[in-house]
């Protein structure tokens, strides 16, 4: 039933015994928080199931036993029964008081992160997620989830992680079902939540030089989703969470942090996805919320309200930093600014990438050349720094 062995909240199909059905035993130990939540839920579930069965059995029994028979009058019965009514008011009250107290007790730790929690800054935007780790790393790993190019994030096993979250535009909500955590993410404001993952899902493989699932086909990590309606692609803000042992986690962060040795052209292609441009700008010519980048370099764009511009370095820069300034005819003013969210090198990388998608082969050559030249210059500068 699961494709790629993805593990999400209760993992259907992985219930191996009747005990599992009774307690939904599987997959509740994914985070330190999850077990407590599940126990409260199961308490509520079984209490509710007991009452439901009792009530429905009674109803069905009465419906049969006391069905109308012609000429037979129903026997008189009491119109009320104070002891019974008090009992069935007090007992549910007590049962629900337990739900409230236990539920609040399990909930409170979620609000207070430990002081030593590692901080990850989360930015939600229409329609994607960005996580910035303490070392400045941002994940460049991608995966296709629900047929959408989605990010892959890593978390350390057994250590607390605190997410400090904010939105660029409207309200979103960060939801990791397997960990049982969810918190709304607001614009112009920070909210936070934290978790401690308990089980590693991936490990570094020296042979393949990449991170692979620990149990191939079983647990491919956890899903993260947006849980507050935020517009068109609300249902396509998925992400994959990998949980790594500490050493692997540090290694992963280091790999992600260093974009300096990625050539401009390659980096541009990566940023197209990680920065979320892919939500609106295709690179294969298909129509989207924003103009496609394919073949756009060097053409002249006509703007709403008159005016036009050639698509060059300046235009690309303006489109990224001040998108509302000029809107191309046939499109809506929907893009939020990336001012302060892209470095100069990243801007150059995106420009180089767009140039490489031009219809003219000359532009592609120029882009490749620029990218290679920059890498050469960096190498030379690095060498000169070590060998003055």
């Amino acid at each position: 039933m699961t494709s790629g062995g993805v593990q999400f909240a209760f993992g259907p199909g992985v219930l191996s015994s009747w005990w599992d059905w009774l307690w939904f035993h599987n997959q509740t130990d994914t985070s330190t928080f999850a077990r407590g939540v599940d126990l409260v839920f199961f308490y509520i579930f079984w209490v509710s199931a007991a009452f439901f069965v009792l009530l429905m059995v009674l109803m069905a029994y009465f419906a049969v036993r006391y069905r109308r028979r012609p000429g037979v009058a129903p026997e008189p019965s009491a119109s009320h029964n104070t002891p019974l009514e008090i009992t069935w008011s007090v007992v549910p009250t007590i049962l629900m008081a337990v739900m409230f107290v236990w539920g609040t007790y399990e909930y409170l730790p979620l609000k207070i992160a430990p002081a030593d929690a590692e901080v990850i800054n989360v930015t939600a935007r229409q329609w994607g997620w960005e996580w910035v780790y303490e070392n400045g790393a941002q994940s460049r790993d991608r995966e296709r989830i629900a047929d959408m190019d989605s990010p892959v994030f890593a978390l350390p096993r057994g250590r607390p992680v605190k997410f400090i979250m904010s939105s660029n535009d409207v309200i979103h909500s960060m939801y990791i079902a397997a960990f049982r955590i969810k918190r709304d993410v607001f614009p112009n404001m920070y909210t936070s939540q934290w978790t401690v993952p308990k089980e590693a899902t991936h490990r570094w493989s020296e042979e393949m030089k990449q991170f692979v699932p620990i149990q191939p086909g079983a647990n491919n990590g956890y899903y993260m989703a947006c849980a507050e309606y935020c517009g068109d692609q609300h249902s396509q803000m998925w992400a994959r969470i990998m949980v790594l042992e500490d050493a692997d986690y540090v290694k992963w962060k280091e790999i992600q942090a260093s974009t300096d040795d990625i050539p401009l052209l390659v980096l541009g292609e990566i940023l197209h996805k990680t920065k979320g441009c892919v939500s609106c700008h295709s690179v294969d010519g298909s129509k989207g919320t924003g103009p496609t980048w394919k073949g756009i370099w060097g053409t002249t764009e006509q703007f709403k309200g008159g005016g036009s511009a050639v698509v060059d370095e300046n235009y690309v820069r303006e489109s990224i930093l001040e998108p509302a300034k000029n809107i191309v005819q046939g499109f809506a003013n929907q893009m939020t600014s990336f001012q302060g969210q892209v470095t100069e090198r990243e801007l150059m990388a995106l420009t180089t990438y767009i140039k490489s998608l031009s219809a003219k082969p000359d532009d592609l050559e120029a882009a490749k050349a620029a990218s290679d030249a920059e890498m050469e210059a960096k190498k030379k500068a690095a060498e000169e720094a070590t060998n003055p």
Binding site: P12, A73, H80, M99, G103, A177, Y229, C230, H234
Partner: protein, 582 residues
């Protein structure tokens, strides 16, 4: 009007024009109720079509494939097409987003809030109290025309692309989006709110001032208690919706900035405003349904309601507590202390609700139960509403709600209470009072077939959604990860069974109006005043003002009016205080 006292309220006038005018200018609560019934049924069907579209879209998760011919990506598994608006291409997700928004908005504002009170309540509240009309007949007509006006606004919004914000209109998305015709839809809801307020004012005054002499508060039928409690909520809660929607319209048009964080505003303030109305609103939706359930069970079990006073008081308690719990819709947005308070208060409202369910089932003990269509719906109501009610506590529990908030668990919960509760009760009430309203019987066999199909279809559609929710399937999703495919397919098949059930009901009712046999005055053996009136009632409801000689549920000691003791025999042990209704 003077010559029509003894005709049925449905009787046509001398000329076609006069007949039409008799409905356009009517002050008769029954005719106003029938007009509401037709309009809300139409709204229900329209919103139902949107629901079918939503479920059709969710049959498969969408997939992009590379089209070999053009080497471009193409989306498959998508049912709703894209469209163009103002010259801009709009993605199919957007079409889905409009479908679920319109389903919610039309269902809430045009169907479920007005349907039971303004349709069945309008027709039967005055009759049950022994009155000739509601307290303010002209206000009643104004309420109806306000509803029509609001409905027209909604239609205009629909024609201009509707809205895609979700029926909850959360800011800043709803205050900034430019798709569709959000402002018109919000204005429609604003106008419809006034219709609800006018109805509420009318019913409160009616219950206070128009009861037949000798009918004390505890001699009223429980349907009247339910309508009264609902009317209180309508009067006190709806104005807050009014100001909320007004502020949203001003935010969109004048950019006043109180909800927009970019201008220093607070989007959570909107949520507080919105839910302060919308939580009591859900009790506006369910309380009348509970009132109907009391009537259905009492009459078709031919048994007095167990714990009459408990049910009456619990209705008022639910109405009062409903104002205290709104922030349980916002647990993922607030601080711990705030959340704890609202979690505790939310559990409070479950207690009177549970008491009602226990009382209804106890009523069936030592009863005489006729398993006809209304009773089948009463039992469907008990089954489904109990599930809906029992899935409330997981959402009220803080730790669990963090996981379940904004997932399909919530969707399943509210459909179980709103549809499994109110709609089942409404359908039961329709069948129960159909002979009285229209003077015709319906085909009982096909009525039961419809009821069974609706019950099965409903449960197939929504029960699986609880599991989707606990597995982490978020709501308002146009597409989803593949693991959920079979869940969604089951749910979609259920929606088709539901549709079939409703279709059968529609055909049964249509047939009844055209070719149904004439209904007797009291086909079910009820004891409340409407069963003393003609089927259908005369214009002023009764020829003589009814005299109260027995309680509304004194089945043990009273032979129902217009019925024979053979059909409804009295038990020898209950011979004290025997009386006949006339």
């Amino acid at each position: 009007m003077s010559g029509h006292h003894h005709e049925s309220y449905l009787a046509p006038r001398e000329t076609l024009w006069k007949s039409i005018m008799a409905w356009v200018y009517t002050l008769d609560h029954k005719r106003i109720g029938v007009m509401y019934l037709i309009a809300t049924t139409f709204a229900f069907l329209l919103a139902g079509v949107f629901a079918l579209l939503v479920r059709a879209e969710l049959w498969e998760p969408t997939r992009t494939i590379v089209d070999e011919a053009t080497n471009q990506t193409r989306v498959v598994g998508q049912f709703l097409p894209g469209w163009t608006e103002r010259g801009l291409p709009v993605t199919p997700n957007n079409a889905y987003n409009r479908a679920f928004t319109l389903h919610g908005a039309i269902m809430v504002f045009l169907f479920i809030i007005p349907a039971v009170p303004a349709a069945l309540g309008n027709i039967f509240l005055p009759i049950m109290l022994g009155a000739k009309d509601v307290a303010f007949p002209r206000l009643n007509l104004l309420s109806w025309y306000t509803y029509v006006f609001g409905g027209l606004f909604a239609v205009w919004s629909l024609a201009s692309g509707g809205a895609e914000t979700g029926w909850t209109f959360y800011t800043p998305y709803s205050s900034t989006t430019n798709w569709g015709s959000t402002t018109a839809m919000v204005l429609a809801a604003f106008i419809l709110g006034f219709s609800s307020i006018f109805t509420g004012i009318n019913f409160v005054a009616t219950v206070h001032k128009l009861r037949v002499p000798g009918m004390g508060w505890f001699d009223m039928p429980l349907f009247a208690w339910a309508i009264y409690a609902t009317a209180i909520i309508q009067v006190l809660a709806t104005p807050v919706l009014g100001i909320t929607l007004l502020l949203l319209v001003l935010e969109r048009t004048l950019r006043i900035g109180i909800f927009d964080p970019a201008m220093g505003g607070d989007p959570v303030l909107f949520q507080h405003f919105f839910w302060f109305y919308s939580h009591p609103a859900v009790y506006i939706m369910i309380l009348p349904g509970m009132g109907i359930a009391s009537e259905l069970i009492a009459v078709h079990c031919h048994k007095k309601i167990f714990g009459y006073r408990a049910i009456a008081f619990s209705s008022i308690a639910i109405a009062a507590i409903s104002f205290l719990v709104w922030a349980h819709h916002m647990f993922t947005a607030q601080t711990a202390a705030f959340n704890a308070v609202f979690s505790a208060l939310t559990f409070l409202v479950a207690i009177p609700t549970a008491i009602k369910v226990f009382n209804w089932i106890s009523t069936m003990y030592k009863a005489s139960i006729a398993l006809n269509t209304p009773m089948l719906y009463a039992m469907s109501f008990l089954f489904c509403f109990t599930i809906g009610g029992l899935t409330g506590p997981p959402l009220a529990t803080l730790a669990v709600d963090i996981h379940l908030h904004d997932t399909y668990f919530v969707v399943a919960h509210f459909h179980y209470v709103m549809m499994g509760g109110t709609v089942m009760a409404f359908l039961g009430g329709l069948h129960h009072w159909w002979p009285k309203m229209f003077g015709k019987m319906y085909n009982e066999f096909w009525g039961r077939v419809g009821a069974v199909l609706v019950f099965i279809g409903f449960n197939v559609t929504f029960f699986i959604q609880f599991f989707m929710g606990t597995q982490g399937m978020p709501r308002r999703y146009a597409t989803y990860v593949e693991e959920f495919t079979s869940f969604h397919k089951i749910s979609t098949v259920g929606s088709w069974i539901l549709f079939l059930g409703f279709l059968i009901h529609a055909l049964v009712f249509a047939h009844s109006l055209v070719a149904g046999r004439a209904a007797p005055k009291n086909p079910w053996g009820g004891l409340t005043f409407e069963w003393e009136a003609d089927s259908p009632p005369v214009e002023h409801n009764f020829d003589h003002e009814p005299v109260i000689t027995h309680g509304p549920y004194d089945f043990e000691s009273v032979v129902p009016p217009h019925c024979s003791e053979q059909d409804f025999p009295l038990h020898p042990a209950a011979q004290n205080g025997r009386a006949h209704g006339h």
